[in-house]
């Protein structure tokens, strides 16, 4: 419907934005989560700080074996980026599953990551990619791992006054196979479960396995038991079956905790199988 009144700033520099945010301003990136929440009056910030005009936050750069993605890079830019498609296809594939055309045109990687919706797509891939999240505040700058970044439902390692400025993902070795498999909550398009798998093989054996899971619980996580099982030669389905081990699964209208945990195993197996097929 209609949001409450607020003040609006559209700084051109990051420093200016961080000063406003340090003052209590709410950062606005693509707005695909924040604005609907404001319209339903579930969020009512006094000041909104629009990051879209900060040129220094929008980029995709390859640098020393990594790809650096500015926070305001849209999902569409990620899914269609030649660099990301060639060198980190898991991220491009994951981006293509987010929302819909219009949402991908406006929604940004920084916004999605900072919002930390437990059923958002990116976090699964970022976990599997062992991505780094660059965080800045008016007087701080730090880089944390995806695993440390996603703390809880809508809760991240961001301190008040801080924003996500960059996401760093690795340039994949050519032999790496990856896949993101997602079961859509059919009404909202969010993930009931989404599993991102990253596999490297050598001499017929899995030498590296990274499995990121979203939608299953309060935060996206790396399925360590599944990864370990895969590298120690366990069959895919058996490895996938432990994906929800020790996880407190979410429950809603679309999937009970038990069904979600089951689905996580099914989709983990699909993602791992697809990733294995894509190893070369």
């Amino acid at each position: 419907m209609i949001p409450q009144q607020f003040e609006y700033s559209a700084p051109k520099s990051l420093a200016e934005a961080l000063a406003l945010i340090a003052d209590g301003g709410k950062p606005l990136s693509g707005g695909m989560s924040l604005i609907p929440m404001m319209k339903l009056r579930l969020a009512a910030p006094d000041r909104v700080v629009d990051l879209a005009r900060i040129a220094e936050l929008s980029y995709i750069r390859e640098q020393a074996g990594s790809i650096h993605i500015g926070a305001t890079t849209t999902h569409h830019e990620v899914e269609s980026s030649a660099v990301i498609r060639a060198k980190c296809p898991l991220l491009a594939e994951t981006a293509s599953f987010i929302g819909d055309v219009q949402v991908r045109n406006l929604g940004t990687i920084g916004g999605s990551v900072a919002h930390a919706d437990p059923s958002a797509d990116y976090p699964a891939a970022l976990q599997a990619l062992e991505a780094k999240i660059v965080i800045k505040g008016a007087a701080s700058e730090r880089t944390v791992s995806a695993d440390d970044f996603f703390v809880d439902t809508f809760t991240t390692a961001l301190e008040p006054g801080e924003i996500v400025t960059e996401v760093i993902v690795p340039v994949e070795a050519a032999s790496t196979g990856t896949s993101y498999q997602k079961l859509l909550q059919p009404a909202s398009g969010f993930a009931i479960v989404g599993v991102a798998a990253r596999i490297q093989k050598s001499g017929g054996k899995i030498t590296l396995a990274r499995v990121g899971v979203t939608g299953l619980s309060n935060r996206a996580f790396r399925a360590a038991a599944t990864e370990q099982a895969l590298t120690s030669g366990t069959a895919v389905q058996a490895a996938a079956d432990v994906v929800a081990q020790a996880i407190d699964a979410n429950s809603d209208l679309y999937a009970s905790a038990e069904f979600r945990a089951h689905l996580a195993a099914v989709y983990a197996a699909r993602a791992i199988d697809a990733a294995i097929r894509r190893t070369s």
């Binding site: 419907m1 209609i2 409450q4 009144q5 059919p186 909202s188 679309y254 038990e258 069904f259």
Partner: protein, 781 residues
């Protein structure tokens, strides 16, 4: 006068013609109600109950009323003297709760209007609505109709502790004998869940009071402008001829805009009090909470049959969730289900008991199909269950029990007279389309490989073209005026109120052919009570099947007059009229309709006993409903790992009689199927134990989207109805009615090797997964 060139014009009826409505729709220039801007217009926002049941202790409007830009705040007390929202359904002993425009001392459902705030724009009105403080004492609510019937349940309305709004019994034939003679009786509880109609345009209205004339203009998103006018005039104590109701472009209805709602009266009332035009537009959240829902059945079926499959009798107990109040037709809807119970079958005995139950939910009322999908779903499921019990092929069992072609007109056990039919034809055509015999072989093969493949079918009947007036609450006729303007152009004014069904096009086709004028020369007007003669509106697959014949007969009346003028101009007693020309049989000379129109309005000379002008109005009263029918077949595969249902094929063969515009008919079928599959697979209005609507936004209520829909292979058999001269039967609801039983049939068939006989809707993945698990491991996981 021209020498005759009697070339038969190419007929327009039966052609796939693109619609006349579309240029304004595809360019964004159509005017929906929220597009109206009037000078001085204010905006109304309704404050609503967040509780399913509560006593209102106090309402504090001071803060809201003090806000800059706020013009008025009204609460229940301010409207206590106004009339109630009307219920048009009349059933013996029906309990009708007082349905005030704003809650008085209690609220009965989440979304119940408590106050209305009016301000200079919608942003301020929303802010002020948030500032209204209501203090509630929360009471125990009940949302489940079976729980509401249980002893000790919270009373929705304190004066009726049994939560029973009415009971209704109907029987036909000899039901005792049927069950006594049966070799086999099958029983099943079958539900048809609450659905949210969800037209893409929510409700909304703009009211304008003309104080000097004591007249009101209401633009409202409705399917029934004339009914709204009559009811509103009554409620507000206005002269009916001083109330003008306009349905502008209407963004879908599906039954939920076949009503008079509190907000329409409230907006009008505020406009009258304030002397300003008032706009109220429902938010989507409000639409979920407060516009009527559909379905809401829990049914207990029993079917008696002989060993050979002959169905002898059908018993059903229907529990209808009515919600907290009655809207216009709510309580009447399940009685339509009762009428439809025999389906397409010959069974001569039936017995139905309906109980209408109050719950702390928004009222249920007509939603696409209105009573008939519930019944068709039930009877089609029961036929499948009987086939499984008898180990018969479900198609064979249906063919055996269909009313036979020579038995029409066929009196049913429920007192209807089925007009005409060839019930086997669409089923056979659907079976040929999918190559049924081959498909069953493929299925046997698939099963050997462990695949869960299912072939499902439904053969549905409908009651359409509502309807003979004695059977409808507000008259079931329809009206049309045809005017030939002095220039020869033709204006049609129809009493139906199209909102997507395309009658501006199809009625132009009818007029072009029957009046013999160019298709482009016809303009169809509708939806404005100041322009159009009284009409009933668009619902119940009636627009073409009742409004079309009204137009046909108006044209026939007009042709009589045209011929009088033609005879005068041709100076002959023996003239015929065809293709827009009057022709003298003797001389072969002719005059065009343009020349006749000119003469009729110039009126230099008039035929004997004939007034000037060329206008005819006809109010057509149908003698019967129409009874379209058809067959759907769905092929599906179920993934046991996830419970996902993959629709492999969807075939819809419909018999709606003659097709005026097959392109438009296809569109109606596709949309209907989408809503039927929506119910079968995804949609459900879920209330929790506190009567909170859990599926209260598009985030949680699954509307079918493009990627979820199969390609629909639609086709037709054509059995014209004798009920009207066009032979048309109506097609608006067919797809919806046929789809849900076909879909459930397919999934049940897929799981039948596991011993599954029935699944309630919606067939969500988790439900399917658990069912498979329980059948394969015996666990109740």
């Amino acid at each position: 006068m021209a020498t005759p060139s009697i070339t038969k014009l190419e007929p327009f009826i039966g052609k796939r013609i693109r619609r006349k409505e579309d240029p304004r729709l595809i360019t964004g220039t159509a005017t929906y109600v929220d597009d109206l801007q009037l000078p001085g217009m204010h905006f109304a926002v309704v404050v609503r109950s967040p509780h399913g049941a509560a006593r209102i202790k106090s309402v504090d409007i001071a803060a809201a009323a003090a806000m800059k830009g706020v013009a008025m705040v009204l609460t229940g007390r301010d409207v206590a003297d106004l009339a109630c929202v009307p219920c048009g359904a009349s059933l013996p002993g029906l309990r009708v709760p007082e349905h005030r425009l704003l809650a008085q001392d209690r609220v009965y459902y989440v979304g119940h209007p408590v106050a209305v705030v009016v301000a200079t724009d919608r942003y301020i009105a929303k802010d002020a609505a948030e500032a209204v403080e209501v203090d509630y004492e929360v009471l125990q609510a009940v949302a489940d109709p079976e729980k509401a019937l249980a002893p000790g349940a919270p009373a929705v309305h304190p004066q009726w502790p049994d939560n029973t709004a009415f009971t209704f019994h109907q029987e036909g034939g000899d039901i005792e004998k049927a069950f006594a003679e049966a070799d086999v009786v099958v029983k099943q509880r079958i539900t048809s869940q609450r659905l949210i109609p969800s037209p893409l345009e929510t409700r909304g209205c703009v009211a304008q009071w003309h104080a000097a004339e004591k007249s009101l203009t209401l633009h409202t998103s409705t399917q029934v402008p004339h009914l709204v006018r009559s009811l509103l005039a009554q409620m507000l104590g206005l002269d009916e001829n001083r109330v003008r109701v306009v349905a502008p472009e209407v963004g879908g209805g599906f039954g939920c805009k076949l009503n008079l709602y509190a907000e329409e009266a409230l907006t009008s009332h505020v406009a009258m009090k304030l002397g300003k035009p008032i706009k109220w537009i429902e938010s989507r959240r409000e639409n979920f909470l407060t516009t009527i829902h559909g379905r809401g059945h829990v049914d207990y079926y029993e079917v008696a049959a002989k060993k050979d499959g002959t169905i002898l009798g059908i018993k059903v107990k229907i529990i209808q969730d009515l919600g907290s109040y009655h809207q216009l037709l709510g309580p009447a809807i399940p009685t339509l289900s009762v009428l439809m119970i025999p389906g397409l079958y010959r069974a001569k005995s039936m017995c139905a008991d309906v109980v209408g139950v109050f719950t702390n939910c928004v009222p249920t009322d007509a939603y696409r199909g209105a009573g008939r999908p519930e019944a068709t779903h039930g009877i089609e499921r029961m036929v499948d269950i009987l086939a499984a019990e008898l180990k018969m092929d479900p198609a064979e069992l249906r063919l055996k029990n269909f009313v036979r072609n020579e038995e029409f007109p066929f009196p049913t056990a429920t007192g209807l007279i089925y007009d005409t039919g060839d019930y086997a034809a669409p089923l056979r055509k659907a079976m040929e389309t999918v190559n049924y015999t081959e498909l069953r072989k493929q299925q046997a093969d698939a099963r050997k490989h462990g695949k869960l493949m299912g072939i499902g079918m439904s053969t549905y009947g409908e009651i359409c073209a509502f309807g003979p007036s004695p059977a409808t609450p507000a008259g079931g006729w329809e009206s049309a005026t045809v005017k030939i303007e002095p220039s020869g152009k033709v204006t049609v004014m129809t009493g139906v109120s199209p909102h997507g069904q395309g009658e501006e096009t199809t009625f132009s086709q009818i007029t072009a052919d029957h009046l013999g004028v160019p298709f482009e020369d016809v303009l169809v007007q509708h939806g404005d009570t100041a322009i159009v003669q009284y009409g009933i509106g668009t619902f119940g697959s009636r627009a073409t099947a009742v409004g079309g014949p009204a137009l046909y007969y108006a044209i026939q009346e007009l042709i009589i007059k045209i011929k009088k003028f033609g005879a005068m101009l041709l100076e002959s007693d023996d003239v015929s009229y065809a293709n827009g020309q009057c022709t003298c049989a003797k001389t072969g000379k002719s005059v065009s309709i343009k020349e006749i129109a000119g003469a009729a309005y110039r009126a230099m000379k008039l035929p004997a006993n004939t007034e000037p002008g060329l206008v005819a109005t006809y109010f057509w009263e149908p003698t019967n409903f129409t009874f379209p029918f058809g067959a759907h077949i769905m092929v599906a595969e179920v993934d046991p790992g996830t419970g996902a249902i993959d629709i492999k094929r969807y075939v819809a063969i419909d018999d709606c009689g003659n097709l005026i515009n097959p392109l438009v008919v296809d569109g109606q079928v596709h949309g209907g199927v989408a809503q039927g599959l929506g119910q079968a697979l995804w949609e459900q209005a879920v209330y929790d134990d506190n009567a909170q609507l859990v599926s209260g936004e598009f985030m949680d209520y699954t509307m079918p989207r493009a990627h979820m829909m199969p390609w629909i292979e639609s086709g037709h058999t054509i059995t014209p109805t004798p009920v009207n001269p066009l032979g048309v039967k109506g097609v608006g609801e067919a797809g919806t009615i046929g789809a849900s039983p076909a879909a459930v049939s397919a999934v049940v068939d897929a799981l039948s090797p596991l011993g599954v006989r029935h699944i309630d809707m919606p067939m969500t993945p988790e439900k399917i997964w658990r069912l498979i698990l329980s059948k394969t491991t015996g666990s109740n996981a």
